[in-house]
Subunit: 381 residues, 2 copies
């Protein structure tokens, strides 16, 4: 089997990730921050270590401003619901995932906020000009993905951050696609709110994610509950990370996530990036000239690691079905929870086949995939 | 080390739980419900199996009415925020955890709802008379814990369910303490909303929990995002469980949880219950007559598995510290995220020492614990 669905979740996980989960599950995975006994302190250490590892990875000066979340959707919702108020004006791009679009549209449908959408150029690129035009003083929040989960197009985050900061606009970056292969520096990029998954590019397990909130950004928690702190108070404490971390954390998952990020550090993010780019290049070279195939992804140097294509008028799910059943190749068809992206790309009917190689794929697998897609495109499967 | 903090999280986990997590992490933990390839379908099967196992366990006729949650706090917040509207009257007991009290008090502080609190009798018992008095037509929601996380007092859930149903009141049960040792039947108990943890009595890993919503109960989702379904819609789908399950699920955790519940089924919930009761009885017999010790827990037959005590005017955290450092016994002191419970019990100054044995503790450990507490109470440690 060839796994090329790393944009959904990365696989395989480094052995260190699984080992760390196994260790804490066996050795004793008590509830951190609740009790003070030895096993609870051990769990607390594991959580703190991962928090610090992630802080260094994204150049976050205070690890306590990172709250662990169950997935990126919760992180994005926490950010969006937490900073907006009645009458807020929000700008987002059409390349956003439903985890951004759906909370925004829900709030808009209640008349609570207004939302402006920046349309992309072809291949899902968002230009600096279009961002400049949309971002004016008075806008409360700008939401942008680090790279498109449909085409892989890397967004001009650093430039957008400058414009946001200059105009007093909060900048929320959805790093679901790209964290772990595109270097993210919250200071250099002027990011106020960073939502990131643990189980994709960071190589941790599912059930892990985080939200970074810059010091000075006021945020209301989406949920309130037990934090193991200020237990005598009937209202949520305001201190970080407790304000955003109610209830028991996914300690084994967080243990694994820490090892995932360490694995990236040990390997070198540039090495990971380069390996993915090499495979993308092979796909472009092997499939780019086939007349039945249309490509929707930017070239490797502008791409976080996604190769999106269509074959004539074939439904993308049909192609993915054939890839899976006839060739044992795992990809994702359909609409990737990004309706406006597909509308912009003109693929709202057929969807797209999304091939997302990961660090653990190799050239042989890429070659076999090229051959399989060519045979489907030529109708000789 | 003697682990007696099972009310915080159960430990150890059955080997089958850890093995199931290891298997799916290694074999291939793709993203369920997103892609249609073999590995994604395999992950989907694991999630469905756990959903069905839990449904049978709580006598839930439609497994799709169970949404997986990251922890019980999120489940309770989803229920509370999801069913209340402006002007709703809510009744809760003083024995509720902050995961119920804090969202209610947050909504009340905004003038959105009004909250009435039922006070307990001694040892944290809530009487049927006090419930009957508080629950009248016009009340929207009644929140009650299955058993107190401070004293272990089992609540009259079945009787409360009847009163709720007769008065058209939604009944939310927080099963954080008791699921896995007190049999729960949502039909027999007339439960409309059941929030339960995966990592306590159900013996699964941290990062797992669930919310059951009875068919016919309207609920708004707390978060909106990618569901892998109706991807072309900018609003959250209304279909269960998608409406409440946005973003990637904790698949390895859910795999483990399924095996945890199966372990309980294979062992027999009565056997688990009896073993915990036997250890409670030993604690009552061994410590009940000591003049320096005050007990705050009801006798074993009315208790889900908690033995709460104070020693003269000693701070509970100090006692837990001694138990940990001098005797290697893990317990929890302080206030257990239940401020009104401690106010009602008169322990808001010292807190309580909470001893919560689990199925994997034994008589020898219980005896050693009795000796350790006696030596602390007599000042001879």
């Amino acid at each position: 089997m060839i796994y090329l669905d790393n944009a959904a979740t990365s696989w395989p996980k480094p052995p260190q990730v699984i080992q760390a989960m196994l260790d804490i599950l066996k050795r004793g995975c008590a509830n951190p921050g609740r009790s003070a006994h030895a096993m609870a302190r051990q769990a607390e250490d594991v959580v703190l270590n991962t928090r610090e590892t992630i802080a260094r990875f994204f150049n976050i000066s205070d690890p306590m401003r990172i709250a662990f979340m169950p997935n990126t959707t919760y992180a994005l919702n926490t950010a969006i619901y937490g900073v907006l108020s009645e009458g807020s004006v929000v700008v987002a791009t059409a390349m956003e995932h439903n985890s951004v679009l759906r909370p925004l549209k829900t709030l808009e449908s209640k008349g609570y906020i207004s939302v402006e959408i920046i349309k992309p150029e072809k291949l899902g690129r968002i230009t600096i000009q279009s961002i400049k035009k949309a971002l004016r003083p008075g806008v409360k929040l700008f939401c942008m993905t680090l790279s498109s989960n449909v085409t892989g197009a890397i967004m001009p985050v650093e430039e957008a951050g400058k414009i946001c900061r200059a105009n007093g606009i909060l900048f929320l970056v959805d790093a679901a696609q790209g964290a772990g292969s595109i270097p993210v520096d919250v200071e250099k990029m002027n990011i106020d709110l960073l939502a990131f998954p643990g189980h994709k590019g960071l190589m941790g397990p599912q059930g892990t994610a985080g939200l970074y909130v810059r010091d000075g950004v006021d945020i209301r928690p989406l949920v309130q509950g037990g934090t193991g702190s200020f237990s005598d108070s009937l209202l949520q404490p305001g201190v970080f990370p407790d304000i955003l971390e109610s209830g028991t954390l996914n300690v084994p998952g967080i243990a694994g996530l820490g090892k995932g990020v360490s694995y990236i550090n040990d390997t070198g993010i540039e090495i990971i990036q380069q390996k993915k780019k090499n495979m993308l290049k092979m796909l472009f070279d092997g499939l780019g000239k086939e007349s039945n195939i249309t490509l929707y992804s930017p070239p490797p140097e502008q791409n976080s690691g996604i190769f999106a294509l269509s074959v004539n008028q074939m439904d993308s799910s049909e192609i993915c079905y054939l890839l899976d059943r006839k060739f044992g190749i795992c990809t994702r068809g359909g609409f990737h929870c990004a309706p406006l992206a597909h509308l912009s790309l003109g693929t709202a009917e057929t969807g797209l086949v999304r091939i997302s190689p990961g660090y653990f794929n190799n050239e042989t697998e890429t070659e076999l995939t090229i051959k399989a897609i060519l045979s489907i495109a030529r109708g000789i499967h």
